[in-house]
């Protein structure tokens, strides 16, 4: 994968804690300890221009996130000052010269329920309406709802859940399926290993109308700094990326045989990948829109990109250095989809390469259609490829993480 690095002079006076793209990827918001939020817009030359900057909080602003554009141009922020805020961009409709078309951001609400630093804030999936979840350092998850999406100044606190762990991050399951009840996962940066798992899964129960903890992810006992559900574009399972002392990717398969109330784990959770390549604390994880590439960044000052090949094993495909250089491009094994393109190959070469690989591959491909390989209790996959053998080490490794 080839990237062209551009430096952006953000001019924040302190650390930038979060960067967020809007739904379309053409606007960007940054937030910093300097208590400011900045909004950047991309022009037709693909240059990012600062279009708004304002003091949002009276403490470090930890996270910034965009709402679905259906609800307008709306941002939410959370801060060390124990509040979360919802902001809306207003396009001036006044008649005075210079007033018309002027854009500015106004605070629509300030959510002051937390008694400690609010460490993360995320809008819920659009299908659920306008929901906002926050988590705080004292371990409380709060779910707010704007009953009237036209009135962003009115939010009601719908649910308050206490996890008893200092929380650092949260993520909604973005699934589009009505079969999946609303779900979110939270991570704790509590360093004390004896307190058990640092990633907890909460699910909404339609019958009891309550959120309840259904699972705690086994094997994650170190401080968790970031957590992210992969966009679920019709996968039968959920994927969760975790930034802890390493990068982890988990799959979560809903169990069919479990009654929700029974208190048993709702998901069959397996670790499909675990990377220690950063050699130090991993701070962030982020998925691309299709959930096929994971970006992780750590104290080594590098962004590493991970991609799953068709053998179901995750490989590093690129390393980007924080100083704007691309450390290296790792060519993965060519797949039938042709995911490789290195800096060296000219623009015409790849397509030819794809064509070749197609000829090589096509013969075995169709003849290798095989019935579902039943592996273990819950792993079911259809296998295509030259080898009839089931997927390699990643899966074997993951078996050890499966429930005893």
């Amino acid at each position: 994968m080839l990237f062209e690095a551009h430096s952006i002079n953000a001019e924040h006076k302190d650390l930038i804690h979060d960067v967020a793209y809007d739904f379309y990827g053409q606007r960007m918001a940054t937030c910093s300890s300097d208590q400011f939020v900045k909004v950047w817009d991309q022009d037709e030359h693909e240059t990012w221009n600062l279009t708004a900057t304002w003091k949002a909080h009276s403490g470090s602003v930890w996270k910034v996130t965009w709402a679905h554009p259906e609800f307008g141009q709306v941002l939410a922020t959370c801060s060390f000052d124990r509040t979360a805020a919802v902001w809306e961009e207003i396009v001036g409709e006044g008649t005075a010269p210079g007033e018309r078309g002027m854009r500015h951001w106004v605070r629509r609400t300030n959510l002051v329920d937390s008694r400690t630093s609010v460490t993360d804030v995320k809008f819920g999936p659009k299908a659920l309406g306008l929901l906002l979840a926050t988590c705080s350092a004292d371990g409380v998850i709060r779910i707010y709802e704007a009953p009237d999406v036209m009135n962003l100044s009115q939010w009601t606190l719908q649910h308050e859940l206490s996890s008893k762990l200092s929380l650092s991050c949260l993520t909604w399951n973005p699934s589009f399926s009505r079969q999946h009840p609303p779900m979110l996962a939270v991570g704790s940066d509590e360093a004390n290993q004896s307190l058990g798992s640092k990633v907890l899964i909460y699910e909404y129960n339609e019958n009891s109308r309550r959120w309840a903890k259904t699972d705690s992810v086994p094997g994650v006992t170190d401080a968790v700094h970031d957590i992210s559900f992969a966009p679920n574009l019709g996968r039968s399972f959920h994927m969760l990326a975790i930034a802890t002392k390493d990068v982890r990717i988990l799959t979560m398969k809903p169990r069919q045989d479990v009654v929700v109330q029974s208190g048993q784990p709702r998901f069959d959770i397996q670790t499909v990948a675990q990377f220690e390549d950063h050699y130090c604390t991993v701070w962030r994880v982020s998925w691309n829109v299709t959930g096929t590439i994971l970006a992780s960044s750590g104290d080594d000052g590098c962004v590493r990109l991970w991609k799953c090949n068709q053998m179901n094993s995750w490989k590093c495909v690129s390393v980007l250095k924080g100083d704007g250089t691309q450390a290296c491009t790792i060519s993965g094994a060519p797949t039938a989809q042709g995911t490789t393109s290195s800096a060296q190959t000219s623009s015409s070469a790849p397509s030819r390469k794809f064509a070749e690989s197609a000829i090589e591959k096509s013969a075995p491909l169709t003849s290798m259609w095989q019935p579902a390989v039943i592996k273990g209790r819950f792993t079911k996959r259809t296998w295509i490829g030259a080898e009839p053998a089931p997927p390699p080490s990643a899966i074997d490794k993951s078996k050890s993480y499966a429930r005893k």
Partner: protein
Amino acid sequence: MAKTMFITQEGPANALALNKDNTQVVIAGRNVFKVFNIEEEELVETCNLRVGKNLNHLNFSCNDVAWSTNEDHVLATAATNGAVVLWNLNRQSRSKQEHVFVDHKRTVNKVSFHSIEPSRLISGSQDGTMKTFDLRIKEATRTFYSNTESVRDVQFSPHSHHNFAAVSENGSVQLWDVRRPDRCYHQFTAHSGPIFACDWHPEQSWLATASRDKTIKVWDLVSKPVLEFTISTIASVGRVKWRPQRKYHIASVALVVDCSVNVWDVRRPYIPFASFNEHKDIATGIAWRGDPHTFLSTSRDCTLYYHLFKDATRPASKANPQGVAFNSRGDLAYACKANNNLLVKSTKTPGNSKRSDQSSDEFVQASSHMHWYNKKMNYENIWFLGCASQYMLSGRPLPDLCDHNASVAENLGRTTVSLVWRMIKILYSPRLGDFGLQLGIKDDQVGGNLKDKDGETERRDKKEEREGEGSSEEGSKKTKRQLRLEDLKAGTDSMGDFFFGDGEMDPLSMDFERGNSVGLCVDIITHDWTLPIEAFPLRHEIQDSSPPPEQLNNDSPEPSDETQFLTIEDPPSSLLTVNWVTRAPMWDSSVVISNALKHHANAGDVQTCASVLIALGEKRRNLNHVLDEAIQEQWLTAYIDILTRYKLWDVATQVVKGLYSWCQGCAHGGHMKHIQEWLENNVECPAGCGHQCEYT
């Protein structure tokens, strides 16, 4: 002192003070007034000053307490009733009260000893005055009128012995010379709200002020007051105290909301350098124990805490120093902490600075680099956009759609996707379906009206053949069919064409489905079947029975009747074989297709899944038994979501702004002008819903 420790009292203290050699601490509040020895492992109460007959006397109710800077036995308190009370710990009697100055008219907020002249005491009161007292003559010597409503804090300057600073509720700072009680020599407005506290820097000519406006400001008072630093905190600031031996560090406590004691580095005014979160309620007083490593604090939660600096939490260390985000085009934004450490270390002469200074310097140098990585040669993007714009998903017969889409995918280099389309074409081609269908129906006939069904099949057969005749030559047809079968094996491309439109396809596929359900019924009888074995005979079946239609065309219809008859004879011979034969439709394509689609979905390629589903149209229902409708819906909504991210929508689906009208019949509409233009030339709804719109 080895550890952070605390002791709980019967009431909250408003203030605390240390004696000059920092071995004892006094705490004072409305209901508590005690002296403790600071010992190695604990705080030991040595004296309770709240003794006597009249404990409710307001002289005991203290806003502030000060320990003489020279005499170890002299204390002063500021009482809520306006008295300044002097205490002598060396008094033999139980009561240590030495003298009461009743000069102020209202509550006294603050008392403070002069750092060099131990007999000089100053007080600041709610009545807006400050008074100095001479402890030798036990008299108020001077009164300073601030001309403000109330004085909240007053403190002698450590740098010039005649000067003191006073802060008041109107947000102003006054600098006085004790020799000139008529007026202050400097006055300036420091905050937009009441100032609750001030503290002189022990070495610099700096004065820190703490206000309800949530800020701490540091003023350089060397000549004219210059604002050096502003720290904005999350709540009203109640007290501030500079950290000894650390030029830039200052401790603060909040008046509301925040229970922690924060130590700030004024050069990084956004996040506390260290934070002490032991208190359960807001802290009321802080006192450094003469060194930068220990301090004591009182709180409204009735505790007195002894803090070790090393036990502090460092909020900055938990703060995530990086941000990374993907956008829908695969570009990546990345912000990370700028690493200046190497640079700093190289410029510093070794041994010049203490270790703690260095960590503090690193703390201060907090800035981020931000980069935007524009993805070049973004094949996923090209694929997606190419397919999204070039795919044909309806309006033509399925095989045509498949061919078109397969070639679109092929041209974009997506061979797997191309194969999927070809597979769909093959599996849903009427020919193959037909064989399965015939067998399935035959099975049906075992249980029911043979004749009718048979006739129906035959008729259909003929119809198909006729259709075939019309569209292509027989000779080429056979070779093409063989080609197609080979396709199944080899997967190579054949641009095979198909002879049947949607009209023929539909009833077929419906029967096909029926065949399926029969297969499912049989399934219950024999469990031990396996897919590969089944699939194998199917091919033979096809090969065996492929000739009949050809013959049918070449010869008269009669022989074909015979072949049909023959196959019908088959079933009664043995039930097992019948089951075997019916398995053919069971191997049915829907399983393969759904697996293929699921595979693509799991690989994140929902585009293929959704496109195939749409292209299949009504035939999509055939998949329902293997592919949950909810999953199908999920794929479609997910695909729509991604298309939306790329803004691949029609003008017609956008939200209309301005003057608009809509048809009451179908609820579609648009800008009035545009609708008018459209309707001049058209009758049907512009949205394509087929409604004949009426606008009245």
